[in-house]
Amino acid sequence: MESQFINNSRACQQSLSSRRNFKNQTGSLKPGYGVAAAHHGELLQGVFAGDDGRLKRVLVSIPCGIFKSEVRFTPNGRDVVEVEPKWKVKSARAVELTLSSLGKHKCGGKVQIHSNIPIGWGLGSSTSDVTAAIRATANALNERLSPYQIATLAVRAETACDATMFGQQVVLFAQREGLVVEDFRSSLPTLEVLGFNTGSHANGVDTIAFPPARYSWWEIEAFRPMVGLLRRAVYLRSAQLLGQIASASATINQQYLPTPHFHDLKEISMQVGAAGLQVAHTGTVAGLLFDPNDPSKDNRIEQAQTLLATLGIKHMWMFQTGVNG
């Protein structure tokens, strides 16, 4: 187990060369607060070419406001970062990186993380902690970081992260580089999501250790019309089209991380007339997607709940995308 004290001594040595810097590096810290919503798995995950023409592993997260991580940063007057709970060392590392990137090499503080995000379900608990920690640190310094800046810090702290820091903004995100491959310059259209955990992996999935899918060349090509349709879906604000993208991506992913009951879930999705079925591509949650403008939406959801219960899925929750949270 790593120590909860992450020493900034190297940063100290680098910064001691200038007295003026030194003064700037220690002063003006106040308590800071940051929050980050979880996501509910992905609308789409696969491989896509960036502007440089090189293929990158990418995803589009589904933001989920009912699970979140909150972080309080309290300056401790020393040059060490302490984190609670102690095992959340990635968040401590993220705070350390944030401080030094904002020029505060000599600063430290206490980082308290409060999260209701279940771990290992594919909800992005780790990136939410890290994002909230970075926001809390920036807040303590009276700084506001863009999602792009947060992503750069988060991927350095975690080696791979998801697109949590972008909130409702739709981006095709390269999770191993922390880069945006395509910014759709829009919020996610509103989707009504009936979420649940398919949870046979009792301990969840370690999303970083999970080996990346080895997609075939055909699958890599098949992501292209999905991204094309995503552009259209965002433009038209279409829940129906988003549902079709989610179902297609979930289907391809079955070879790499099978979702328990996937076939039955797809049947239910079709039977009740859901817009689609989404899954966590490195986790166990899944969701049926509904069009909020569909007049029979409530009936469909009720029917889906009944059918899901017959699969032994008892714990379900509802949330909406495209709204603040």
């Binding site: 023409g53 395509e182 098949a222 292209r224 019309p225 094309g228 349709l229 259209r232 038209l236 089209l241």
Partner: protein
């Protein structure tokens, strides 16, 4: 990597600038995908994959046995990439195309004499084997069997989904199986109910007709291309030459689209189906431009001499239950129902004894 987003940037070569089609609204629910030269898409993808696998580098020899538009696409790409291209062809190749290929530095190797057994097709295969033996390091794109032919159509599918969104039906001619099977399988991941309508012509073996000399070219085949996945198709149409050529002229006269006869043939079927299904969004694949056919399809005298001009296009096809019921002189269709060849015909495809194996591959 072919970028759909940002395609309007300055292109590195002519290929990138014309490889994707223009999308044109032809009716309230019918979109035409008008290609400059559709075969650039598979030729490019096949050569890219071979290059990535280390099979091609500057100066490599590429050998193929086509005399149609796939050969032209290969010739353009091989010139731009400094590969040496040898096309084994038969005397059916049209002279302007041959000159164009040769202008691009392609060696056009024409088989003059049919083989004693097996006709031109066999002679061509024999000659191909000789040329291949003379260049042991060569690469053969093999458009009829290379899975990278159908696999090449993802950028097209991306363009369609981005521009149109939900698509209910795709209509197009079938020759190698590449465009229709490839595009449809990519789109069906997103739209499982997508209706796929394949357009063939009488005398083509692809959908179970006996092999015969065909007037309408650029679609159909005398051989069964392994790249045709029959189970993709919901519905098959056989269009005769007169209807196909007249429809090509209609496409020009009505929509000012100067396209080749495969385009007109697909348009005939697509405009009919779109009219029957006004709530469905239909895409029709228009594979090449009309300039190669100025002296034939676009020449009234040529059409009249051959009795190929129709004053009135048939309004609808004759419906049959089996491919062998399709008469050679009328537009015919049947529900294929995503079956295999064997499910429809009762036996797997085999070359019949009476099939004259004349080289008619385009």
């Amino acid at each position: 990597m072919l970028m759909v987003k940002g395609i309007n940037k300055i292109a590195p070569t002519v290929v990138e600038s014309v490889v994707l089609p223009k999308l044109i609204r032809l009716n309230s629910n019918l979109y035409g995908a008008a290609f400059f030269l559709m075969k650039l898409l598979p030729a490019r993808f096949i050569l890219d994959r071979a290059r990535d696998a280390g099979l091609l580098h500057e100066g490599s020899v590429v050998i193929e046995t086509t005399s149609g538009t796939f050969g032209l696409a290969l010739a353009m790409l091989c010139k731009l990439r400094n590969y040496k291209l040898i096309l084994v062809s038969d005397p059916a190749i049209d002279p302007p195309l041959q000159r164009r290929l040769e202008d691009l530095g392609t060696t056009v190797d024409i088989v003059r004499e049919p083989s004693a057994t097996g006709g031109f097709q066999q002679a061509r295969l024999d000659r191909l084997a000789q040329v291949q033996a003379a260049h042991p390091e060569h690469f053969c794109p093999a458009q009829y069997s290379n899975p990278h032919n159908p696999g090449a159509y993802a950028p097209f599918a991306e363009l369609l989904t981005e521009a149109i969104g939900k698509i209910d039906c795709v209509v197009g001619t079938v020759g190698s199986g590449g465009s229709m099977c490839g595009t449809s399988l990519y789109l069906r991941l997103l739209f499982p109910h997508l209706r796929v309508i394949g357009v063939d012509t009488h005398g083509s073996v692809i959908f179970g007709q006996p092999d015969q000399k065909r007037m309408l070219r650029g679609l159909g085949n005398s051989l069964m291309p392994p790249n045709v996945d029959h189970s993709v198709f919901d519905e098959i149409h056989w269009v005769d030459a007169a209807a196909g050529f007249t429809a090509t002229r209609m496409l020009h006269q009505k929509h000012a689209l100067y396209m080749g006869p495969t385009s007109g043939t697909a348009y005939l079927v697509a405009q009919w189906w779109a009219k029957q299904n006004p709530d469905a969004t239909v895409v029709v694949v228009l594979p090449d431009e009309g300039y190669r056919y100025q002296d034939t399809v676009y020449n009234d005298a040529w059409l009249h001499e051959r009795n190929l001009w129709l004053d009135n296009l048939p309004e609808s096809p004759v419906r049959v239950d089996h491919p062998l019921e399709a008469r050679s002189d009328e537009w015919t269709c049947m529900d294929w129902n995503r079956h295999t060849y064997e499910q429809v015909m009762g036996a797997p495809f085999s070359v019949g004894k009476n099939d004259e194996p004349v080289a008619r591959i385009r």
